[in-house]
């Protein structure tokens, strides 16, 4: 009797779907591709620039603890220091004053279901190439929806600008004596995405979900203000968005679980159905080694 029960239990376990086998099968069969949307965390990666008298986001730094030497004979490791908003990173609603009183607004309290979500990719690469201060508007969204359908509720909206291909940090920051010049959404566009489309969040390839000149918008930094005010998220310093289809990709973007954390660097992966995958040009490489 006991042996029979054991066999039945085993059979039931084997009958349970095996997700890892499923995913491996999808990937190895070529049905699904994995795309890494993450920049390498490195001391050279530029942080956000603020007036020098303000508090500063610490750039990524690493201090060696030991490297198979007298400090630790068989192991290598480092101590890291960096601001929460370093490299490819996630913004939680508590990051902005508009989201400060929302429930569960910090990294340690966010619902994990949000960490896997579909992505809509708006290709603004031509516009951003022509104009570093390019602003994404509702008109652009309408044109995109006409072609690919309505942006679904709970989706990430990613603004592809190919800005991540600017591998020179000076060109990536693109500062002059009037501040930063990088593309982003205009205020109406963000309001529309939050109120009319109920998106999960907004993602960019630049430092910040807002445009470089967004301090002068009304309200200042509208993407931060409206998205976080409505409990939505931000993703910034993404790369490889040119390898994603306009629709159909699934994003895995789980920030670190930091007590009262306002944001964190993270690894962002996209699952892309093969038919929707854009092959990388053989000569193109991600921003950093």
């Amino acid at each position: 009797m006991k042996a029979a029960r054991q066999r039945a239990k085993l059979k039931a376990e084997n009958a349970r779907p095996d997700l890892s086998r499923l995913l491996r099968g999808l990937v190895s069969s070529g049905g699904v591709s994995l795309v890494d949307l993450t920049q390498t965390l490195s001391p050279d990666f530029p942080p956000i620039v603020l007036p020098p008298e303000m508090g500063q986001c610490r750039p990524f730094r690493m201090e060696e603890v030991s490297r198979y030497d007298a400090r630790g004979p068989a192991w290598y490791w480092n101590n890291l220091s960096f601001g929460e908003h370093s490299g490819t990173h996630f913004d939680a609603p508590i990051h902005w004053i508009s989201g400060r009183d929302l429930p569960d607004n910090a990294l340690d309290a966010l619902p994990v279901e949000h960490f896997i979500a579909p992505a809509c990719v708006i290709d603004c690469s031509a516009e951003a190439k022509a104009d570093a201060d390019f602003l994404l508007t509702v008109r652009h969204l309408a044109a995109w929806e006409k072609r690919y359908g309505r942006i679904p509720a709970g989706a990430w909206v990613l603004m592809r600008t190919d800005w991540s291909k600017r591998t020179d940090p000076v060109a990536y920051q693109n500062l002059d004596d009037t501040g930063q010049h990088t593309p982003g959404p205009d205020p109406d566009c963000v309001r529309f995405l939050v109120k009319e489309r109920d998106v999960l969040g907004f993602g960019t390839e630049t430092i910040g979900t807002d445009a470089g000149q967004a301090a002068h918008f009304a309200p200042p930094y509208p993407c931060h203000y409206y998205m976080h005010g409505a409990g939505r998220y931000g993703l910034q310093c993404l790369c490889n968005l040119d390898r994603l289809p306009a629709i159909g990709a699934l994003l895995i973007a789980a920030p670190l679980k930091i007590l009262e954390g306002s944001g964190s660097p993270l690894r962002v992966l996209a699952l892309v159905p093969q038919s929707g995958l854009k092959r990388a040009h053989p000569l193109s490489r991600s921003r950093r080694r």
């Binding site: 001391p43 530029p46 750039p59 730094r61």
Partner: protein, 424 residues
């Protein structure tokens, strides 16, 4: 006769390139042991002063330094600045020596000088001094071991030590040298680069952090022909290591201008994030630079006429005593001062000099609300060059620094209370 003409002096020439098949010489030092009381001579020389002891009871001048007065046996001997005027009464040329340092550099011109103040001293004699007997002036200098020596120069006019073939070694003249300025983007860094160029440095490497922040004055340094910008961020250990790998084996002089200055005390700024950054640049930055560059400097301390010779730190007069309105910055500079003393101790066996500059408030954006007098960046840069061309360790440029130093030496506690606003 035109001044300088016919003298045996010569300006420093650009040294020939190193012959790579020859073993790099090891540094030797002149004898360094001094009694505690004799170090008083060194303490004064480190600030560019020639001091001797004077008896408080009978007024007798003492030489050499001693514990009790040579005439009345009083132990109350006070170090007092001397004008050094006197007569070279006799001289000789040393053509043989047992000490390796002197042996490697023969011959040496030495003499006995009768000071007008009444004592006879033994001194090196500058090439530009006429044959004894003649009028001279005694200067104190620091030798390669960092100890005070006395030098006889002509009584009037300027006779730079670097114009003398032997005495040149007591200076760190940047002429013909390869120099690293660790941060060339600040107003001070830019001024140091220009001053080095004017002082005929051979090559000036300029550290550039955060290249995306464009500074007009820094961009303009491209017109300095011997200057070259290289990536260097002293808060990033990897960046410091990479630059040391690239130029560590060539640099003769390091001028650490990297500085992070914010103007907060303890209670008018929440948190420690700004204070951490001050420590990261001002203290840990120096530590990172020292760990990566000092070994190469030591190895090249005797590398022919183009050897590694000096390390300059731009500290602040706030390093001596805390200036509460800039409280955390003062603390970071005090930490840097302490570390610079360790660096000096570690570099001394190689004969590489560590020079600390303690400027008062500089006329820049972080001392905006400090009342004049304030130092221009160019004045601080000039003080750095002058220190290298001379033979000193500690420099207090400007009226404010001189005033604070005098008050500090008199009574550190009183100065602390004055800086805290206890005095009107």
């Amino acid at each position: 006769m035109i001044e300088g003409e016919g003298m045996a002096t010569e300006r420093i020439k650009q040294p020939k390139r190193k012959n790579p098949i020859l073993r790099t010489r090891l540094p030797t030092l002149p004898p360094a042991a001094r009694s505690r009381v004799a170090l008083g001579l060194t303490a004064a020389a480190a600030r560019g002063r020639f001091e001797l002891q004077v008896c408080r009871d009978c007024g007798a001048l003492q030489y050499p330094p001693r514990e009790v007065c040579r005439t009345c046996l009083s132990h109350r001997l006070l170090w007092r600045v001397q004008d050094g005027r006197g007569e070279l009464i006799t001289e000789t040329v040393l053509r043989a020596a047992q000490e390796l340092f002197f042996r490697e550099r023969l011959p040496w011109r030495v003499g006995i000088v009768r000071l007008d103040a009444g004592v006879n001293v033994v001194a090196f004699v500058h090439e530009s001094v006429a044959v004894a007997p003649c009028r001279v002036r005694i200067e104190a200098a620091l030798d390669r071991a960092g100890k005070a020596v006395l030098i006889a120069v002509p009584e009037n006019g300027r006779s730079p030590l670097s114009d003398d073939r032997q005495l040149r070694e007591m200076t760190c003249d940047p002429r013909g040298r390869k120099v690293l300025v660790t941060d060339g983007k600040s107003a001070l860094g830019q001024a140091v680069v220009r001053a080095l160029a004017a002082a005929s440095a051979d090559l000036i490497w300029i550290g550039e952090a955060e290249p995306w922040k464009k500074i007009a004055g820094f961009a303009a340094l491209h017109n300095v022909p011997q200057a070259k910008a290289l990536p260097l961020d002293v808060t990033d250990g990897r960046s410091v290591r990479e630059l040391a790998g690239e130029i560590g084996g060539k640099v003769d002089i390091i001028i650490n201008t990297a500085d992070y200055h914010r103007t907060f005390g303890i209670s008018n700024r929440r948190g420690i994030e700004t204070a951490q950054l001050e420590m990261d640049v001002n203290y840990f930055g120096l530590l990172r630079l020292a760990q990566e560059f000092a070994p190469a400097l030591k190895a090249r301390a005797a590398d022919g006429p183009a050897n590694a010779i000096a390390w300059v730190n731009v500290l602040s007069i706030y390093a001596l005593e805390n200036f509460p309105p800039h409280g955390t910055y003062s603390a970071s500079k005090a930490a840097a001062l302490s570390l610079s003393q360790a660096l000096r101790a570690e570099l001394r066996p190689a004969g590489v000099r560590v020079i600390n500059l303690f400027p008062g408030p500089i006329d820049d954006e972080w001392d905006q609300l400090v009342l004049p007098p304030k130092l221009s960046p160019a004045a601080v840069a000039a003080a750095a060059i002058e220190a290298l061309q001379g033979s000193v360790e500690d420099v207090y440029p400007g009226d404010v620094a001189q005033d604070w130093l005098a008050r500090y030496l008199e009574s550190p506690k009183t100065l602390e209370r004055e800086l805290a606003g206890d005095a009107p």
